[in-house]
């Protein structure tokens, strides 16, 4: 299984601003998933984008996927204090199991 590499490692923004975090991976995939982890808790599945999709939306979340560059981005619009968390990407191919990197730690400043 391959794991994604999230960038930046940490990000602090003012409440109301947009937050963008990126994910790179090494080999071809069937889909890529994004998860959120609040401090000390389990992960929450946010969105799954398939390799034949370029963009997907869910509420204030927008995910893009560029398979030619082997990269994905997660945009959170109009950020809120509750968005403070770590965000992980998980690229997947075939019957692989999810593996996770160290994530992006997002802090929303009130």
């Amino acid at each position: 299984s391959q794991q994604g590499e999230e960038d930046p490692q940490a990000l602090s923004i003012q409440e109301g601003e947009n937050a963008t975090m990126n994910c790179s991976y090494k080999t071809s995939i069937n889909n890529l998933q994004w998860y959120r982890q609040n401090s000390g808790r389990g992960l929450v599945h946010l969105i799954l984008i398939r390799s034949n999709e370029r963009e997907k939306h869910s509420g204030r979340l927008r995910v893009t996927l560029d398979t030619s560059k082997k990269s994905s981005s997660l945009l959170i619009t109009a950020s809120r204090a509750a968005d403070t968390a770590s965000y992980f990407c998980a690229p997947l191919k075939g019957n692989e199991k999810l593996t996770f990197g160290t994530g992006t730690r997002l802090t929303i400043i009130p």
Partner: protein
């Protein structure tokens, strides 16, 4: 929000004790997983199961063992706890394989061995 339950939420235990971390899900998922995560670090898959009486070791070697006697239950056991086992343990389940479905995680058990 989760339909997967882990108990206890926190556990402090002495070296040499036997412990079992509980994980139960009410979704009827065949696939279940255990991950280990140190603060600020990656999650590492330590065990998984694709159904009753089926268990496999994950990517990270672990001294823990698991069992899957019922679909809904996937406990993790440490026969003799050591300080090096101090970590957060996360249980997850999925309806199908990861390339089609996302995982549902429990809230985790934070284990401290003193």
């Amino acid at each position: 929000e989760a339909d997967i339950y882990q108990t206890p939420r926190y556990l402090v235990i002495g070296t040499g004790k036997k412990i079992t971390l509980e994980c139960s899900q009410t979704m009827g998922h065949d696939k279940m997983y255990w991950y280990q995560q140190d603060p600020g670090m990656e999650l590492h898959l330590i065990h998984y199961s694709y159904g009753v009486n089926s268990t496999e070791k994950g990517d990270l070697s672990s001294e823990s063992t698991v069992s899957r006697i019922r679909t809904e239950h996937f406990p993790l056991t440490l026969e003799s706890a050591r300080p090096s086992h101090t970590s957060q343990y996360l249980c997850a389940s999925s309806e199908g394989l990861g390339h089609t479905y996302g995982y549902t995680f429990g809230s985790g058990t934070r284990l401290t061995v003193v």
